[in-house]
Point group: D3
Chain length 123, copies 6
């Protein structure tokens, strides 16, 4: 097992303990090794890096997924939950999403707000 995979799993224990198992159950029969590869890369090779705190990393992910547009709504919703788990408030998440109107345009920001409100109302 690579160091990156170890670090990624340790981080996910904090953010979303079931994520790797959920991914493996859904995708690994189709694509052997997909879940492990995602954890190693996204969490082990990026979120677990030193040099920036996890809360800021997660807010930056919210920014990017909002600016990229509504096609990433499922991933935006999961990352809103991760961002709450990393210590950011609902208000901070909404501020980041609304700021994206400047960079990704008004439709992207409004679609992001809708996703966040759905997550908060379901919590």
């Amino acid at each position: 097992m690579s160091d990156a995979l170890t670090h990624g799993r340790k981080l996910l224990a904090e953010l979303n303990p079931n994520l790797e198992a959920i991914l493996a159950a859904r995708y690994d029969a189709h694509l052997p090794g997909m879940a492990e590869s995602l954890v190693e890369w996204a969490y082990g090779r990026h979120y677990a890096r030193e040099g920036l705190d996890l809360r800021t990393r997660q807010l930056c992910t919210i920014a990017a997924l909002t600016a990229l547009g509504g096609q990433t709504t499922p991933q935006l919703k999961i990352n809103i939950a991760h961002t709450r788990a990393a210590g950011a408030s609902e208000a901070e998440i909404l501020e980041v999403i609304w700021q994206m109107a400047v960079y990704g345009g008004m439709p992207a920001a409004i679609n992001g707000l809708n996703a966040a409100i759905e997550v908060f109302e379901a919590a």
Copy 2:
């Protein structure tokens, strides 16, 4: 003068005092009011809002501009300077850009790293 314009100008005094004058000199003969409108909207109506500190707002902008791809390189470079002025380190900016490989793909992240390295080497 709207309150938003006042707040936007006050914030730019900290981040980039000449920005409005530069925009006005370049664009206002073509588009009357463009510079004022940009300051009111982007800085007065977004960056000057309460609820999130300026350093985190700027790092989120770095994330979005990187994920949106190399077409936004001029704006990414200006915002890297603003993000330094808001208190983030070079290392933190690079971490945000590299994390975008997960969301915007490897080309977007590498193009973002190249922009940042150019800004840092020119500073």
Copy 3:
């Protein structure tokens, strides 16, 4: 109240009189000032500008939202209604959308046609 906000509200009285109230009811408890800010920026600072008639402005919005892809379907549908209110025919709107196959690709154009047909059939 800024001049831009006044102009934006006056224009929306023609296009969609309830829009600001609908936005305020949905978003302002989450993001204070969001509805006013959107009206000031999008309608006061853009659509209310001189130099181009409203009907052409709206057809250009249809073009952009189609080319940007299906992620902007909710905004495309609202703007199809605004474009009808600004005096364009159903046929003109369909022509603009189909032309976008050249610039945004066939999937974007087809998704745009589907959105328009849904709006027209519901009218």
Copy 4:
């Protein structure tokens, strides 16, 4: 009838014999000539060209539609069926989609996998 239209229709007889009729039934009352134009352009002027086999062409379409993001899901699903008809296996299609995590980002790849799994489970 142009040569390109003839070639496009001949190719579609192999991939999806009802496509032109389906398009004509849905769109031609709104946009005269749309179905014929799409067949001439996409199938006659591209897929029917010499120089690359149809199976590789279809896998390249899967790659592009995945990287362009979830907004193209309806077109991705239709092209997954065409790609199967052109001789590619389910496993090959999944490999192409997953590879797009490198270029279009993880959300695009995961949304593409979900579309493929839905098509395969419905077959």
Copy 5:
């Protein structure tokens, strides 16, 4: 020769009489038939359609190319010239580009303005 090709060539005689020859000289040795195919599709199957005047069609193209971002700058510049040839003023073109700040974000609009100013200053 298809009807669409005939119509496309007739329209280009008005907008940009050398375009097909320039495309053929650059691309046809690499891709036989490319120039003819582009004229047939973009100009014969889209711009030459009835139902919308050419000036409005061209302004809609300006809108889309701006919103799609700076990656389309070469095509934006060519279409700014075509839009002038179709009867739109410099001021109208700038209004369309600036409006795109609402839908494609501020970087896309500013990159579009820069392209237009370059074209106007070179004219």
Copy 6:
């Protein structure tokens, strides 16, 4: 050293033996581990997978980078070289790029053709 890193390095020995060293020289002082991480992820976890031949994988990458637009030109050029090294002809690469006019729009396809012609003329 992870298995994925080993497999990725083995594959790059065939496609582009100096790539990891070039990346390390440019980026690793800024972002420790970047080069290794890219090789592990892109080449070890994707290109080295079984289930699809390398030539087809590379042509699919050409398709995606073209459709994503001109912002990825540097990566498109590198991958055109890799695709030649994996056994595809210049003509096959051009066919893939031109086909992308259907999915990513005409500007994306033309920008891709220009990149390919530059690579071929420099070879």
